[in-house]
């Protein structure tokens, strides 16, 4: 069991604020896979004039926002999380084997995935709770190994206070050494060959607050920025 950490008695970022911070790092012309759950919130925060091509594992290359009018909802045009979406101009439909060829084949510039735990070596756990008899893999294993970058988005601590940013994961892994950045309600942390580097902290939090909630040593750069929430 991961260690219980100290949660600061201060307001943390909301789910939407974490997603907004992450969206700033999705660059123009990237092909990006968005996982289900918390990752989906980041889509609405990508600036409208920034051409990010969203890939949905069920065969949509160029997924657009949900339709504005209810009558435009189409059961044949849903996201991986089964929510209604649209197709951007120039978007394409492919079948599942081609969709995952794209993912494994290195065409995803970035994957945004939820996580139970992230290790200091970039190991990702997000499909099965420790001790469970089974779980949901979905597309996460293929997408995590194939993407050029994996952004993990999650709360910094589990509901029971267990560490999620850890030296070594002890949940069943989804993929090894794949996470490049972690976005939480407390910080933005890069995964480097030397371990976790604390890039930014949430407004009102100190570096010590984040370290006390992290079960691994955080490397501090010359200047730790404050997240623009």
């Amino acid at each position: 069991m991961a260690n219980i950490m100290t949660k600061p008695d201060k307001p943390l970022l909301t789910r939407d604020q974490i997603a907004k911070r992450l969206a700033q790092d999705l660059e123009a012309d990237w092909v990006v896979n968005i996982g289900i759950g918390l990752p989906v919130l980041s889509v609405a925060h990508v600036p409208k004039d920034r051409d990010v091509i969203l890939h949905s594992e069920n065969g949509i290359i160029g997924m657009g926002p949900p339709p504005e009018r209810e009558e435009d909802i189409d059961r044949d045009l849903m996201s991986a999380g089964k929510g209604p979406v649209t197709l951007i101009p120039g978007g394409v439909f492919v079948h599942h084997a081609d969709s995952f060829s794209l993912a494994r084949g290195g065409r995803l510039d970035c994957a945004v995935l939820g996580a139970f735990q992230v290790g200091a070596n970039g190991d990702l756990a997000n499909w099965k709770v420790k001790g469970a008899s089974s779980g949901n893999i979905g597309g996460a294993m293929d997408i995590a190994v194939g993407a050029k970058r994996v952004f993990a988005i999650m709360t910094h601590l589990a509901k029971n206070g267990e560490a999620k940013v850890v030296q070594a994961i002890d949940y069943p892994p989804t993929a090894l050494g794949v996470v490049t950045r972690v976005y939480t309600d407390m910080a933005v942390i890069s995964v480097t060959p030397d371990g976790f580097v604390l890039e930014e902290v949430a407004p009102g939090l100190t570096v010590d607050d984040v370290q006390a909630a992290t079960d691994a040593e955080l490397i501090l750069p010359d200047a730790v920025r404050t997240i623009a929430a």
């Binding site: 439909f93 079948h95 599942h96 084997a97 995952f100 060829s101 979905g138 069943p172 892994p173 993929a175």
Partner: protein
């Protein structure tokens, strides 16, 4: 020309048999051969292995197949969806087996079977419990595990349009698993919304050639 349009759903489903591996298309709401699945529900078939991304939701479709006692095993990537109550209860009670497969591996295993190949090497699952018991290979410095083809005795697929040869096109993201399932089964049944005359489909746009389709039912 061989007549591929089935006389009825029941007639098409009568080809299935107990203990068969049945590939069932669809992802979420899109591309689900609902009428064919309903047909299997009333068939009294037993101990089917169903391959689908999920394990049924609510009490319709694959969830109803489970409730009717037709299913011995599910092969899925995401079996424990919020609405998969029927499967969750039956799995917890030991009434149905489960094989969880990464989604891309699942699709590729079927394409592999359809392409007449004997397996493939994938980086997906290396270092995870998915790799347990599977041969591991290093190719040009990168580690892969070997996955085997996944062949179906039958495939139930949903398409948008067919012509009399069974050439299929799909609608939007309802394509999903259907094309790889159509090619991976010994006997493929397509449920289509519309039939068009010969030459009614653009040959450049046909996704599934009719050679993969054994019969089809037009459901409108």
């Amino acid at each position: 020309m061989k007549k591929k349009q089935a006389r009825s759903i029941e007639d098409a489903i009568s080809n299935l048999r107990d203990d068969a591996i049945v590939l069932v298309g669809g992802f979420g709401y899109g591309g689900v051969p609902e009428a064919l699945i309903e047909g299997v529900c009333g068939s009294g078939l037993k101990n089917l292995t169903i391959v689908n991304n999920n394990a049924g939701t609510g009490h319709t479709g694959i969830a109803r197949l489970l409730e009717e006692g037709c299913v011995g095993k599910m092969i899925c990537s995401f079996p424990f969806a919020a609405e998969s109550h029927v499967f969750k209860e039956m799995f917890a009670a030991g009434k149905v087996d489960l094989e969880v497969v990464p989604q891309g591996t699942m699709a590729e295993r079927m394409r592999n079977a359809g392409a007449g190949l004997g397996g493939f090497l994938t980086p997906t699952g290396v270092g995870t419990e998915i790799a347990e018991g599977k041969p591991e290979f290093e190719v040009d410095g990168k580690t892969y595990i070997m996955e085997k083809p996944l062949r179906g005795d039958f495939a139930l697929v949903k398409a948008y349009k067919t012509d009399p040869r069974g050439n299929l096109i799909y609608r939007k993201a309802a394509r999903n698993f259907n094309p790889v399932m159509a090619m991976a089964a010994d006997f493929t049944i397509a449920e289509v919304a519309e039939e068009v005359p010969l030459d009614g489909l653009d040959p450049e746009a046909i996704v599934t050639p009719g050679v993969y389709v054994d019969c089809y039912c037009v459901t409108g």
